[in-house]
């Protein structure tokens, strides 16, 4: 029974995990480091080109899997794809009206804070955005792991994508204020 870098193996299996949304991120981080300690190209820099290529491919795969698993939205999207569900983030625009209204208000508030160069206001928005994001993630854990309601879960991923864009907006607003 050896671990294998079979390309058909999914990212959860690569880390010896049962596919689920709920994840012990601290353990994931430890396992990530343990895996990289074995496959990182630095461990085979003195070996042949073939060996170095192999290390680069495996290390790349471990990095990719880790990045996906540690990000709640990417983990959810990936998990849904394993269940054959497309989250339709580009195509499905049928979002609840109150959610869209709230998003518009968020955006306006970020733009205003940026224009006024109001870092304190931006920090407040940032904190609120994080709280709300965590609420969606908690709901996602219930839908995915307990109720196995993947259509509702896909809807939550679409909402999280809005929150992610909002986070990016806040990030670039900080950068703009800095300039």
């Amino acid at each position: 029974m050896t671990h294998s870098f079979d390309v058909s193996k999914n990212h959860f299996q690569l880390f010896g995990l049962v596919p689920a949304f709920k994840l012990d991120t601290a353990q994931l981080e430890l396992d990530y480091r343990a895996l990289q300690a074995q496959v990182h190209p630095d461990k085979s820099a003195h070996l042949s080109d073939a060996e170095q290529r192999l290390a680069m491919q495996r290390s790349t795969l471990v990095n990719e899997a880790y990045q996906i698993l540690r990000s709640p939205i990417r983990r959810a999207r990936y998990l849904l794809s394993l269940h054959g569900i497309d989250t339709q983030e580009e195509t499905n625009t049928a979002m609840p009206v109150d959610f869209l209204m709230a998003q518009m208000e968020w955006r306006e508030a970020v733009a205003e804070a940026e224009q006024a160069r109001d870092v304190a206001a931006l920090e407040q928005l940032d904190a609120r955005m994080k709280v709300e994001t965590r609420e969606f993630e908690a709901a996602l854990a219930v839908k995915m792991d307990h109720e196995h309601d993947y259509q509702i879960a896909a809807g939550l991923v679409r909402k999280l994508r809005f929150m992610e864009k909002l986070a990016e907006d806040i990030h670039s607003a900080y950068d703009e204020i800095d300039n």
């Binding site: 299996q13 049962v18 895996l35 300690a37 290390s59």
Partner: protein
């Protein structure tokens, strides 16, 4: 060789020859070489006991090249042929250099080195070159001269040939600058084990020395570059969380401020190259004086006979350089935000680079982080010391410390899309090695070709990013618009260098490039340069190549034997017999001598051990995940 070497805890391995490897800090102002000797990282001095080699190269009409102190001594007498701070020109075009009138060189705008599928940059020009009395020199060649001196110093000091070297680069260097550095090392006859980011190198030297844990910031202000890296140190893992910086900001700019102040004070306009260099040298000396003193006097006689005599105070210097320091704080804030951390999360701030000696820099950084920066390691040497530790590890020498370095790519990589916009494929601060694939489609019926423009940078517009390469994928089967599927894969290796491959998914037509184009040198050019520099030493080269092959063959046999002893049970009899057969063939080739024969036998043995290596890697990975209840899991 194709075998992963894994040392069992507490199990001593066959006695191994210590492999000579060095770390080189190729700095803007000074360069250093260091190695690990008896388990301790030490900087190697020259025959006069000097550690730092001024990164200055002087070309003479007879082709002679002088590097270091003697070249530095000639900088005011022969400014045009004496190249300082060449690092600032690495991988840069003329337009990037900025105001050339402030520099005493004769710049040449070289045509881009387009080769194969690789086209020129949007600007249509290649890396800037310098016209000297010995001909036109590229920054890569100038840097190679510095590296050669360090290689010779190391070989003399260590008494043997080097297995390889780790060369440091600013964390914020882009692909073109990294590639230029790697090319320079190759040109200097060095086997590059890794390009290592300077602040990361410093963190290794500092972290291993102090057994530190927690989040650290490395503030690295060198002669011409500024880097900030945020790292998490934990149980032997150095994980870079974010890097930021300015690859055109450094101590030189502080000299320039004093230089401008002198021009203004004395109402001088355009100076000749000699006077420009003289005043820059004095400006630098004044800057260094002001580290220890409240004021300094600058006196000079210009070639016109005009006398310069000014007193510069610390206060005046601080006010003229304040906005340079401010320019370092912005990348700092960005790096923290990218790392999703606050100032309070930072446990320590390590200062690197000679320019961090300036009191106003230490003050500003201390104020920003609310703590006194750490300066207990020599800011001039810490990068080379860390690079040597990494080189020792990469060369395969066993060490008592078991540690891992996880670094990131500093700038986003992307492709040009419609409307001159850059679409990010790999975001900045992604841990390397990393790869990302993206699919594109045709936008016209019957379209059979597609051009791809690879860019690096954070800005939205392609024109604001650095153009790395343009290449074309031809022979796409004619289909209706949107039917073709072109998959573009970006692979960034552990040196932070990019490879791009594109494939049409239906037909399998593929185009792959190594991105070293517009601002880099083609392989053919490097070969030519190598030939030029070694035409008188052909015999030496051959003897050297032979020895290298023999060493490699011996190392390979050693490693295979060890691997068979440790993990032989992973092989069946047939596999084992095949490996032993190839090993015998290699030993036979070693006895009979020919370099080509040895090389072929090495390749054959490597090929024979590939699946064994995979099995060994899988076994080690299983062990790494041990402690988990893996029997429950779907692992074969």
């Amino acid at each position: 060789m194709a075998l992963l070497q894994i040392s069992e805890p507490g199990l001593s391995t066959a006695p191994h020859q210590h492999r000579l490897a060095v770390g080189i800090d190729l700095g803007t102002t000074n360069s250093l070489v260091a190695t690990v000797r008896n388990g301790i990282s030490v900087v190697l001095n020259d025959e006069h006991g000097r550690a730092m080699l001024p990164s200055v190269v002087r070309y003479a009409a007879d082709g002679a090249v002088v590097v270091g102190e003697p070249a530095q001594a000639a900088q005011s007498d022969d400014p045009v042929n004496t190249i300082l701070s060449v690092k600032r020109f690495m991988g840069r075009g003329l337009a990037d250099v900025g105001d050339t009138s402030r520099l005493p060189y004769r710049f040449v705008e070289a045509p881009s080195t387009s080769s194969g599928q690789v086209a020129s940059t949007s600007s249509g020009h290649g890396m800037v070159q310098l016209r000297t009395v010995a001909g036109v020199k590229s920054p890569v060649e100038v840097s190679a001269e510095i590296l050669k001196v360090l290689r010779v110093r190391a070989e003399a000091s260590l008494g043997g040939e080097l297995v390889g070297a780790v060369i440091t680069v600013p964390a914020y260097f882009d692909d073109a600058q990294r590639q230029a550095t790697k090319d320079a090392a190759k040109l200097a006859g060095l086997n590059v084990l890794r390009l290592l980011n300077e602040p990361t190198a410093a963190a290794i030297a500092y972290g291993l020395d102090n057994a530190s844990e927690g989040v650290y910031a490395v503030y690295d202000l060198g002669g011409g570059t500024f880097d900030i890296s945020i790292l998490r140190l934990s149980r032997g893992v150095f994980e870079v969380l974010a890097a930021n910086g300015d690859s055109a900001l450094g101590g030189d700019d502080f000299d320039q401020r004093i230089h401008c102040w002198l021009l203004e004070k004395n109402q001088l306009s355009a100076l000749n190259p000699k006077d420009t260099r003289l005043l820059l040298t004095l400006a630098r000396a004044a800057k260094e004086q002001l580290t220890e003193h409240d004021e300094t006097r600058i006196t000079a006689v210009l070639s016109s006979g005009e006398l310069i005599d000014n007193v510069l105070t610390q206060t005046e210097f601080q006010s003229m350089s304040q906005n340079l320091i401010q320019r370092t704080l912005q990348p700092l804030r960005r790096a923290l935000r990218d790392a999703k951390l606050a100032v309070a999360d930072v446990k320590g701030v390590v200062m690197v680079g000679g320019a961090t000696r300036m009191p106003q820099v230490q003050l500003a950084v201390g104020e920003f982080f609310g703590q006194t920066p750490l300066t207990n390691l020599d800011p001039d040497k810490v990068v080379a010391l860390g690079a040597a530790i990494q080189a020792n590890l990469l060369a395969g020498n066993r060490t008592s410390d078991d540690w891992l370095l996880l670094d990131v790519i500093p700038l986003s990589l992307g492709l040009e899309t419609m409307g001159g916009l850059a679409e990010k494929i790999i975001p900045r601060n992604s841990t390397i090695p990393t790869a990302r694939a993206q699919e594109f489609t045709t936008y016209k019926d019957g379209q059979t070709a597609m051009s791809l423009h690879v860019v690096q940078g954070e800005r939205e517009l392609v024109s604001d990013c650095r153009s790395l390469a343009k290449f074309e994928l031809r022979g796409i089967p004619a289909m209706v618009a949107g039917a073709a599927r072109i998959r573009v894969t970006f692979q960034v290796d552990a040196d932070g260098l990019l490879n791009v491959a594109a494939r049409e998914m239906g037909s399998g037509i593929e185009a792959a490039i190594v991105v070293k184009p517009s601002y880099g040198l083609s392989d053919a050019e490097i070969t030519r340069m190598l030939q030029d520099s070694t035409q008188h030493a052909q015999d030496d080269m051959q003897a050297r190549a032979q020895r290298e092959q023999e060493t490699e063959a011996n190392q390979l046999c050693d490693a295979v034997q060890q691997a068979l002893a440790q993990d032989g049970e992973l092989l069946d009899l047939v596999q084992r017999a095949h490996i032993e057969e190839q090993m015998a063939a290699l030993q036979e080739a070693l006895r009979s001598g020919g370099q080509q024969l040895i090389k072929r036998a090495i390749t054959a043995l490597n090929d024979a051990t590939v699946s064994f290596a995979q099995a060994r890697m899988d076994k080690s990975v299983t062990r790494a995940l041990a402690g988990k209840n893996i029997s429950d899991l779907d692992i074969k």
